[in-house]
Homo-oligomer: 349 residues x 4
């Protein structure tokens, strides 16, 4: 979480500081006085679902629009896990660290696995499952039932398609489900280095969500179950969790706007391009990056002096201490980052 | 829940079929590229809180913006109840009937009390508490810990100030908390018959929410704890429930718009005035009203023929069967109801 | 819950005031220094399971020994219900009233149905399911997933085999499960009027428990799933609920003792015979019975004077007020009731 | 969990393989036909409470008898934690590993801390709390609310009085509660190296339980709140968790027997003395102990050959792999260990 000023100065503190892409505002205005049924049963939500199914090449996908990421994670995992199951996740995973125990509030342990720059490795997941399976006490332990990963990860890194396929393979073998937290999915899809498309994710994962809040929307995440029947009576479970939007169309309209002509991926590309300009400049000046992130987040290690200097001109976010008074600071671009702001930052660097 | 067509025809099916009051759209547009911190820590949310504190004459009130009514109920009651406590509510209460077991999902029983047209009576609440208190088995029973009521009720009726005070008195005596579900609070405040102001509610209730979703906003409910400290660490509990909005300002901006010059109450008055015109016309024509509702919802009993006739010209909502093929139908006005639509309906009647 | 004195005087206050049938104590003593694995994996537990499978004519039944009735109900229903489901139960049902909200603590609503002397009628269950099914808002409501009934009921009454079959039929049609709380099952099985055998119950119900605590054991209830696979990984769910007995054999030995030669049914018959002697005497003297109970519990209506007179000679339990200062008092016999105590009571009457 | 044969051969596989100390059986027999109220309101339970209060030098302590350790942990922590709080525990702690997610089932995260041979260090606890406190995102994270430790630990090691006091000090400073899992407390109290008495624990901890199941009882754990009011309405919470014993006296009688003349501590001393003989013999023969356990559990590292040799003569429990085909095996003594069995084992060694 970032603390920023709303001032005129440069801000790269976070990717959810502005409202939404102007097209969304325009569509909300155009449709404002339409009368439609609630709870996502309206035409805009249905249209958005069709567009997402196409983008995912998953014609039978079941899609629900929720308001935020922690909610999407908690409600979906709650629906996919049986009472005796736990989640396997990277120790750096959002559900492991920054969701105030939302998964545990639903009754499930989050078992933290080792990770490399936020990424789970298939062999670590396999080992964790086998450790459970071969433990004489396994009936006294939560059974691993689902693997949670984030694309991009919380460190801004990406899974390659091959890595995702390997994880999917481990899950299938073990009878576990695979879930992808796509809070910043646009910034993975928009990354030149990325080789895992939406259709790939839909083919590999049992459930995932396409993040809107951090990728151009006012709010909203599209939870996708590529194969129907994965989460029976999910609508009622969404309602029970207090997560059903009465005016569901407000979310539907936003995703319709984001997916009707590839806007979502385009916003991702722009943000990553902006981040790359900054990243290149930082590297050229010899700064060390804490994580090899190719996406919209840059984690740069700064001395106290360097940090103070940078913070005089721009808001950036403290990430973690790094020894000897140094700190890892996050510089984030987004769909809303202006070219001139990046220019200005580079000039100042 | 209503099923409606998005067509051009008259629709009085529900009060959440349109987007939002135009002023809100305008404010969202004006503020769209402002950069602000998330999670409700921004200036707009703070401004909205100040306005609501003023309107409630509760200068120390703690206020949180949540996305919807079931969520507001579940998160707030979850924070106010201790594990051994249950809720007392009218059998017709929204939490009793139409929230998919959200309160029970949080671990608490909802004990249904008798009601008159949706209203709890103080003596019934007192009796329910005493029954528990005097039961030799009380330690084997959930202890009544909170009284839930809706203003207006699910039947469109209102509590008078005296009734609310009597309920508050019973709660204080018994050590129970009092919570008011204000999903349609604008339509109570805007009702000529109403004598319980926002300040009254804030003075009597331990917690309540001011409904936005059904009263002019795209979404959003303002949960108010008039006396600080009532729900410790509520922010974290909101997060844990997946109910914390990353771009909290989107809710803040809406409530700022609704409360800065009394718009909220004005929208309520308009809707009730429109409802009254329809109600008067129905009564003049001899139709029976199922509940003596003075607010924006009209529950009229129709024969199958009458219903078919009315549904040819306007969308209205089926409420419940009423014997001999008759049905109670709901006609709802809202902040968005146009004068000419009411005129047309009256002409057709 | 009854309050009694441990004195020498007559006591008919409850059926769980003594320890256990002497045979159980003897078996515990004989086996005390045997060394066996824990958690119900020992030979005695296995032997008890074989005996119960035979008694139920359910050769594949899965059987688990839990410590008490509320626990058996909460763990089993928790395992059988999916998150979106609720339980249908009589308003008088033990889970509805006297389990401190244990089912709600597991996240499920208990919907109270009307009952006759504690008994659910098949048509009321069918109507409740249809009401849900035909409700336009059903996706916003908990889906009835399981019917809970008690045999005998909390009013001491019995379901006939035909009634149970009708309830089973309704459940099958609706896709609901049927669960029988057998806290006092011995006193149903031992009742001359009873025509539903253990094998009948095992054939009709999806799960039930055979009560030990109130029927001759120190503690313990045998949860039976007549058809294997009904509750996957139930062992782990028992552990997760804190309900797995480390020395599982202590429960196993007790049920082995109760079932090896029909002791369980015999204890039931004795208690009911004793109750019948008292019941006949009361009726002969013109006392009114509040419920037509043919089992070990007698609910007799007494004036204040009659009550005081009876309480001078015997402990009995207050049940409920009955108007004009009268009260319904419970007289309970059990496996431990001595013939001479009944004689003495009858003489005093 | 151990797998053993119930055969005549030597068994040191676990400390809960037998029934109970003969005195308990005798008391159960003597009191069997007494009639007493249920739910722990009887005279024996009250007498046991008095004895435990004396032993703890905690005259106002509130004491409840539960059936097992996982249950005691889950119900007590559930009562002590508020919804926004998590537990700090050693990664090796029973609640972290072997309770099937019971604490998470109650809605709380168990944060695993580093440990030395099962022991938490005060400075690690302090650091964990400070890390939370100083984290800019702390409101998005569960707040550490309680420290869980086991005495002796799951590795058989002990906290010294000074270590417990330091942990208590950290908790007080941070406003956290301290809870001690005493599943094998007799074997700590009976250990020559131990300097933390029951009274010390009662003075330092906010809650703890005195283990019966593994220390001479058929079942049962005494949950102690040294200072009254620590867990309001705990009785109802026990009931709600399905953990209230109807015949509470069965647990009360057992603790009365264990505490009336110091039997509990004596049983502990005998078991530790037996373990020490085995431990000394193993060390004399050059075997490596995996943990420096001074209590009734010995964790010895064996080659495959040594293990096979030992398992030909005695049941012992596999604990964990140890590289190069070696294994850590657990040898456990208990209140039930016979001198001649130890003699025989030593002779065979």
């Amino acid at each position: 979480m970032e603390k920023t000023n709303a001032a005129r100065r440069l801000s790269f503190a976070s990717d959810y500081m502005e409202g939404c892409h102007p097209r969304i505002l325009q569509r909300l205005a155009e449709t404002n006085m339409e009368q439609s049924p609630g709870y996502g049963l309206d035409g805009h939500s249905e249209a958005a679902r069709r567009l997402i199914r196409e983008a995912c090449q998953a014609p039978d996908a079941e899609i629900f629009f929720l308001a935020g990421g922690t909610q999407a994670n908690a409600v979906t995992l709650g629906a996919l896990l049986r009472p005796w199951q736990c989640v396997l996740a990277a120790g750096s995973g959002h559900i492991s660290v920054h969701e105030a125990g939302a998964i545990e509030a639903g009754g499930h342990k989050v078992a933290a696995l080792p990770h490399r720059d936020g990424r789970l490795a298939a062999q670590d997941v396999r080992r964790a499952f086998r450790d459970w399976q071969e433990d004489a006490n396994r009936d006294h332990m939560p059974m691993p039932g689902l693997v949670y990963l984030s694309q991009p990860t919380e460190c801004g890194t990406l899974y390659s398609l091959a890595e995702l396929e390997a994880l999917g393979e481990v899950c299938r073998e073990a009878g576990m489900l695979l879930y992808v937290d796509g809070a910043r999915l646009a910034y993975a899809l928009g990354c030149p280095a990325n080789d895992a498309s939406l259709a790939d994710i839909a083919s590999i994962a049992d459930a995932f969500y396409i993040g809107g809040t951090k990728c151009g929307a006012l709010f909203g995440e599209a939870v996708v179950f590529p194969r129907p029947g994965t989460a029976p009576r999910f609508f009622t479970q969404v309602k029970r969790a207090g997560a059903l939007l009465a005016k569901g169309r407000i979310a539907g309209i936003q995703f319709q706007a984001l997916f009707e002509d590839g806007l979502y991926a385009r916003l991702g590309r722009q943000a990553v391009a902006a981040a790359n300009r900054i990243r290149d400049a930082l590297c050229a000046r010899g700064f060390r990056l804490a994580y090899p992130s190719p996406t919209n987040q840059i984690f740069v290690e700064l001395s106290a002096e360097e940090r103070a200097g940078l913070e005089r001109i721009a808001d950036i976010a403290f990430w973690e201490k790094s020894g000897e008074g140094r700190a890892v600071m996050r510089i984030a671009t987004s769909w809303a980052t202006r070219r001139e702001d990046v220019d200005e930052l580079l000039a100042l660097l």
